[in-house]
Amino acid sequence: MVGKNKYLQQLEALGHWFFYVTLHLFGQRGAHILLVPVVLSYVLWSRKIRRTVQPYLKRRFPKASVIGYFRHTFLTVFSFGRVLVERGWLGTVKDACLSGTIEGYEQITAEIAKGKGLVLLTAHMGNWQSALANLGDLPVPVNALMLYDKKAVAKHYFDLNRSKKSFQIIDAEGGFGGMVDSLAALNRGEVVTIMGDRFIKGSSTTVDFLGSEIKLPDSAYMLAASAGAPVAIVFAAQTGGGSYQLKVWDIFYPEYKSRDERGQMLMGCAEKFSSAMEEYLVLYPYQWYNFHNFWKK
């Protein structure tokens, strides 16, 4: 078994090497062409891959035929492959630079100018890691509330941005889930980015998403309500090889007067977030990258 794992690891390393060489020689387009047979073989032969995307695709395309469903599976995996190629391109090719637009940038800067801070809520969709790195150009420091074990990888991608400012990481595994440090950052008028789609532990609210219930974390809304800061729902979409679109889908101020109203406020906020994700997935159905059973309780 150990021998087999080692063999597979070597095979995987060889595959990565082959992609990097292709990227250097033929650019992203060459890597995308190489991606087609690789993804096709994965989708055809890997039951694990098909199982991984099934919970989402069955809900997003409930009436798909067998062939249609196969096509959706291929396009989802291929789309994720393109994001990985883009990351590889940014990380290994000298002078590689992402280009893109931020729809709603003025809204974000106008909210920041009010001095109350801003909670920037996003999700594991599109080329979020590469695209969000470009938020380093905002007029105030940007903090990312995230898990410690992902710190190194995420920091790496944020640092791919060549702008002067870099992301400050707030450890979500630290005391009180990083909430005190995040609140302090908001009180300084800074931006705190949070992934709003994955509930791991702590407080959550159950809402409907693509026809079934999911749990969404409450922390972003509580932080915003406590600081008097707005929440901006911002999602990234890969719009081509090396390009992105960041779009503000909603901006709102979570507020509650007493603890009794807290649950109701959190429910309203979670519903806004869930609706925004659904709207995004109508436009970009293959850029959903929560590759696990998101609906499993």
Binding site: F176, D181, L183, A184, N187, S203, S219, S226, D260
Partner: protein
């Protein structure tokens, strides 16, 4: 010190709305989070805001928070140490 502790207990019961307990029943050294009074990370955020509101004292980072949020006694001490 005693006045600050009493005020903090009042805040926990009235503002954070801890149920089934009166201010007098909260022990000075009882843990605030987890086992003990059972506050969670959302309550921590509210508590930071409430301390700022009632005592004009800011808890600005987690290192400070860790020390302060152990119990009523440590929180009261923190407030007294940081009040102008």
């Amino acid at each position: 010190m005693e006045t600050t502790k009493a005020k903090l207990k009042e805040i926990l019961v009235n503002d954070l709305k801890l149920q089934g307990i009166t201010p007098e029943e909260i022990g000075d050294t009882e843990p605030l989070f987890g086992e003990g009074l059972g506050l969670d990370s959302l309550d921590a955020v509210e508590l930071v805001v409430l301390i700022q509101k009632y005592f004009d004292v800011q808890i600005s980072d987690m290192e400070e928070g860790k020390v302060a949020f152990v119990s009523i006694e440590s929180l009261a001490q923190y407030i007294l140490d940081h009040k102008d």
